[in-house]
Amino acid sequence: MSHSDDSPMDNVIPEHEVPDRSRDLERHRPLFDRRIVRSAIVDAFKKLHPRRMVKNPVMFVVEIGSAFTTLLFFHAVVTGRGDAHPAFIFAVTVSLWFTVLFANFAEAMAEGRGKAQADTLRKARQDVIARRLRRGLAHNISLGPSLLDPECRDAELEEVVSSSLREDDIVYVAAGELIPADGEVLEGIASVDESAITGESAPVIRESGGDRSAVTGGTRVLSDWLIVRVTTNPGETFLDRMIAMVEGAKRKKTPNEIALDILLAALTSVFLLATVTLFPFSKFAATASGHGTAVPLTILVALLVCLIPTTIGGLLSAIGIAGMDRMIRANVVATSGRAVEAAGDVDVLLLDKTGTITLGNRQATAFLPARGVRESELADAAQLSSLADETPEGRSIVVLAKNRHGLRGRDMESLGAVFVPFTAQTRMSGVDLPGRKVRKGATDAIVRFVTESGGTFPVEVKATVEDVAKQGATPLVVADGRRVLGVVQLKDIVKGGIMERFAEMRRIGIKTVMITGDNPLTAAAIAAEAGVDDFLAEATPEAKLSMIRDYQQKGHLVAMTGDGTNDAPALAQADVAVAMNSGTQAAKEAGNMVDLDSNPTKLLSIVEIGKQMLMTRGALTTFSIANDIAKYFAIIPAAFVATYPELGALNIMGLHSPTTAVLSAVIFNAFIIIGLIPLALRGIRYRPAPAPALLRRNILVYGLGGVLLPFPCIKVIDLALTTLGVS
């Protein structure tokens, strides 16, 4: 690939390589930051309030159980002949309370990580003094001249606090000042430091009109000035929304989370039934067999808590929050958890060719001289005509000439050269030297130029032109006066690694569609080179929109990225719509995610994060339920040993005593939550693979692993308890 270091690319907005796994994109923060841990511990206790616990039915049942055994404990202490030995009840009660606390801690940890991010953002949201165009004037003044004139300007501006700005206010921001609110640039061009939001230190250009007109409150103008129309009211700014998002203030359960919650509640009810009915069952058994008593209530509660899916119940909200958090660390702000979840479901990606699949602009990749012309001669003329040409294409010709033929830049003035810029009428550009007219441009323009100069257009050059076009490249013909020197081939450069990435997508069942304004011939060539599944050539906003609708009609979920205002309808229609932060306000509002890095390739990572979140949920649910088998083997023999000593045969782990058996099971049940917090926060390992392969692996690890793991763990805890003298 030829995007070398001195690639003459737009040097303000950095071009992006294809990002690696989302994991690498995330800015690393230690999982257990001491400050976050400390506040999470406090929060874990605060969350014990029943009003907050009731939102999580599984853990609420545990809390009620804990409260119940606490009562049993006091009852046993006071009466001296309670449900079981007070020390045993006490130990079980403590373990149960820890189960609740650990689950709360997991959630608080996830929220804490979000809060840390929010605090950073909040710093950017400080109140600043804004210079606002007096309100009465805003509507009838002819904006341009008066504000552009420094002398008039001061008279028309008033200083206000940024929090008092309303939609449609107009503010003036000079170099060194913070932009007081989200808005749209009406006048001016400036470089803006957006690192407070994006974390990207390189400044970006913001200017009126076009797709780079949106500015975000809290970012700083570095040079020049801007006149900005405020587009949001206080409390609704992008920064506010972002803070609300990461803090989880507005966190609503996602549809899939709700469904899983229902399933978990149902399982909890099943286990509630299975354990509660054990009391009459055991009473009947005790009466019938003539020895023993009904099973102690403490053991029933312990059994219940061990059986209900506390592992997933305790970690479910942490997984959701962590999913959002991973998005944010990938520098993507989702407007809802629903959007993150939908990202996992997406099976069609609409990708803009430019910037996503190919590097931003076409680049010169070859000089194809006409017959009788040396390649270096063509390169020389092409370079000459491009020296003053500031378009990316022009600069890439200069670079190619330097790389291939060692041609250095020349001083235009000393040559007496006059630059002839590109116009829509002539459709060519070039230089006029004394006695020479060098031009480069579209074929028909050069044909006209050469003919007018009295020359003829060689047939074999025409053939070259057609060849180049057929390969999906753009031919640029170079002529010196009446002489046609040859063709410069401008080519879209497909990003390195993108083809592999698309192949990966195909393997996990996601179809990639390239969207381009190019003609079908060029589009087909690039599509083939990049390895996309389909393409939409000569795309108009309407065509994009109808394509999305088409796919949705067929049942697909469509994701796309966009930045321009004309992308807004399509963004609004797509299921997952990622707007570029550099894009217009309209685009940002139509999308349900904003990529702060403005890197369209990030869509691929977004899909992965969405999938990873669902997979983590599924894996932990399976694990949680699979754990129950071992717990039955620990508790059932212990619970009924007085009535049916024969059930001791089920004590296959050889646990020391009924007391240690029950305690080992509840302790394991509590600590497995703590043990799995890192997994919940980081998400399980994601590898792109077809569904059956993924499932096979996860069933093996979390299903079979979930069945087996508790056996040795409970045994080890039992041994530890025995060593400590518990009997």
């Binding site: 039934l273 509660v276 009947f284 049942g555 669902l614 049916y644 059956p692």
Partner: protein
């Protein structure tokens, strides 16, 4: 396991699947209205019924209307059965002059037959007149089975249809199930059974002189009254419709109900025939036969090991008896093992196969007494019932229960592959999970709560035949059988008292209609959805992996729900037996 048993099982399975394949295809054509031959023959009768009942055969019902019709039809049906029993003394075809049936038994029986359970708190030959048996019980044997099939077909339509509001017409599905499927099959089977010696007559009982007189209550008994009746026709539908209610009290252990090994095999096959065939019907209706085969495979993966387990435990016999010097080793002239409660003419293999088949399907007819099985041999039938009658299960009801489990399995699997789960292209969302949870939760709740109450109240524990763990198994089995609409009895429990008649009556009601309504609700919701196209990210539901996952889900849910209860019943009984 003996070679004889292996051969018997293989012959049975091959015959079963061989017959189910064409039947499944035929049923799919019937429900799609494409069975031309049969239609030419039967469609005049079908449309005559519609005309009499003022039914439009092309009516399309939303799920709510479909469900309402199912419930209303069944309630009315149960009411008719109740009335017939209460007034049978005044009605014809009562040669034995049997009195009216008491109210709680009438209620229990009415619910039992309407819900396709056929739990019998009475003995047929001494309680029900021929009129009641034929017009009450016989009719319900047909229509309760047809109801299950209709609900299944509505559910399958929910999976197949896209953005549709309706699930078809209950009346048409009901009529077609009865007229095109159940009636012809029953007719054929009844003839075959008669050929084997199953009785079919309207005359009263016959009297036979005993070879050796015995004493009973101080009187010498020299002759025996042999109950007769129109049994063959009843038995055909009792097996085909997974009803299971015997004409005689001893059910298919009675020589007039099941006289020969051939009649035994015929009945065994007919117990599982329609549930098996419906798997193929399902595959055919969703236009992917692999889906149907996958579901059937999952059923077999559960069925075969449990069959082997029961057979092995029964053949192993009772360690205490062996300790006492009893020769219970199987040989060419002896079936060996635990022969208590089994018919000598069937032996262990056929009894074990029957016990597993009749509890896998929600049939409930028996040819041996489950109460007398070894503890673990008896655990298997009980657990098969507790799984929710989905391994084959009732006609229709078994498959829709299985598909509900498929939805749960797919939900968890879907999460594990990182996608909102879908089954046959339909997204599984909160509503489906909510309803599916009810389907699994309610029968389990009825079993456990019913058993718990019976343990607590004297009316529950008094009628137990055996004390201790075995007595507990008897109660647990009774409620499992009722709430899951199986209908077989462990025996040993006198269930005709007010408590059991009422409690189990309620359980049967809950286990049937509180499942049918959510099932239809899911069908309605699925029908409205669009279909997600299949891609590499889609988790395929016709592979061995899915079969494994489905079986795992069923086994795990079934085990986790009932292990504690089973531990106090058959498991501890088994351990006690070993310990002695």
């Amino acid at each position: 396991m003996t070679a004889n048993a292996v051969v018997q099982f293989l012959v049975f399975l091959v015959l079963l699947i061989g017959l189910a394949l064409p039947l499944g295809a035929y049923m799919a054509r019937v429900y799609n209205g494409e069975a031309r031959m049969a239609q030419r023959l039967l469609s005049p009768i079908e449309h005559l019924f519609y005309r009499i009942a003022c039914i439009r055969s092309d009516e399309e019902m939303p799920w709510t209307k479909y469900a309402a019709n199912v419930v209303v039809f069944n309630v009315l049906g149960a009411f008719v059965v109740y009335l017939l029993q209460r007034t049978q003394a005044a009605l014809p075809l009562n040669p034995a002059h049997l009195p009216n049936v008491p109210p709680e038994v009438s209620f229990n029986t009415a619910v039992s037959f309407a819900t396709n359970t056929n739990w019998q708190t009475y003995s047929g030959e001494t309680t029900m007149s021929y009129f009641t048996q034929m017009l009450g019980l016989g009719v319900q044997n047909f229509v309760s089975a047809a109801t299950g099939m209709a609900v299944l077909i509505a559910f399958v339509r929910g999976l197949v249809r896209r953005r549709a509001e309706s699930l078809g017409s209950f009346w048409v599905d009901l009529t077609r199930s009865t007229l095109y499927i159940l009636l012809p099959l029953s007719f054929a089977l009844a003839i075959l059974l008669v050929s084997q010696g199953v009785v079919q007559t309207f005359s009263g009982s016959a009297t036979a002189e005993r070879l050796s007189p015995t004493m009973s209550n101080g009187h010498g008994v020299i002759e025996q009254v042999l109950a007769l009746g129109p049994a063959a026709s009843q038995i055909a539908i009792k097996q085909l419709g997974t009803n299971g209610g015997g004409f005689f009290n001893a059910n298919s252990a009675h020589p007039f109900e099941n006289p020969t090994p051939i009649s035994n095999l015929l009945q065994l096959i007919s117990i599982l025939l329609i549930p098996t065939a419906l798997c193929f019907t399902f595959g055919s209706m969703v236009r992917d036969r692999r889906e149907g085969r996958a579901i059937l495979s999952a059923m077999l993966v559960v069925f075969i090991p449990l069959l082997v387990a029961t057979t092995v435990f029964e053949q192993r016999g009772n360690p205490i008896l062996r300790g006492a010097g009893v020769d219970d080793v199987a040989s060419a002239i002896s079936s060996g093992g635990n022969m208590e409660g089994k018919e000598v003419r069937f032996g262990i293999t056929s009894s074990a196969l029957w016990a597993v088949a009749t509890t896998a399907a929600s049939n409930g007819s028996v040819n041996a007494m489950h109460d007398s099985f070894t503890p673990l041999g008896g655990l298997v039938p009980m657990w098969l019932i507790q799984l929710g009658e989905i391994i084959f299960g009732g006609v229709g009801s078994g498959l829709y229960g299985m598909l509900i489990y498929a939805i749960i399995a797919v939900f968890i699997a879907g999460l594990m592959v990182g996608r909102t789960p879908e089954y046959l292209g339909k997204k599984i969302e909160a509503y489906e999970i909510k309803m599916a949870s009810l389907v699994i939760l309610l029968p389990a709740a009825a079993v456990l709560i019913g058993t718990a109450v019976a343990c607590l109240v004297p009316a529950g524990s008094a009628p137990i035949g055996n004390p201790g763990s075995h007595g507990f198994s008897e109660i647990l089995y009774a409620f499992s059988s009722g709430a899951n609409n199986n209908g077989s009895a462990f025996g040993g429990l006198t269930a005709s008292g007010t408590f059991y008649a009422t409690a189990i009556g309620l359980c049967m009601w809950i286990g049937r209609y509180w499942v049918i309504v959510p099932v239809l609700a899911i069908a309605g919701s699925l029908a409205r959805k669009k279909v997600v196209p299949v891609g590499a990210g889609t988790f395929p539901t016709h592979t061995p992996l899915f079969v494994g996952l489905l079986v795992g889900t069923i086994a795990l849910v079934g085990a986790l729900t009932f292990i504690p209860a089973l531990a106090l019943g058959p498991i501890v009984e088994h351990l006690q037996l070993l310990a002695r």
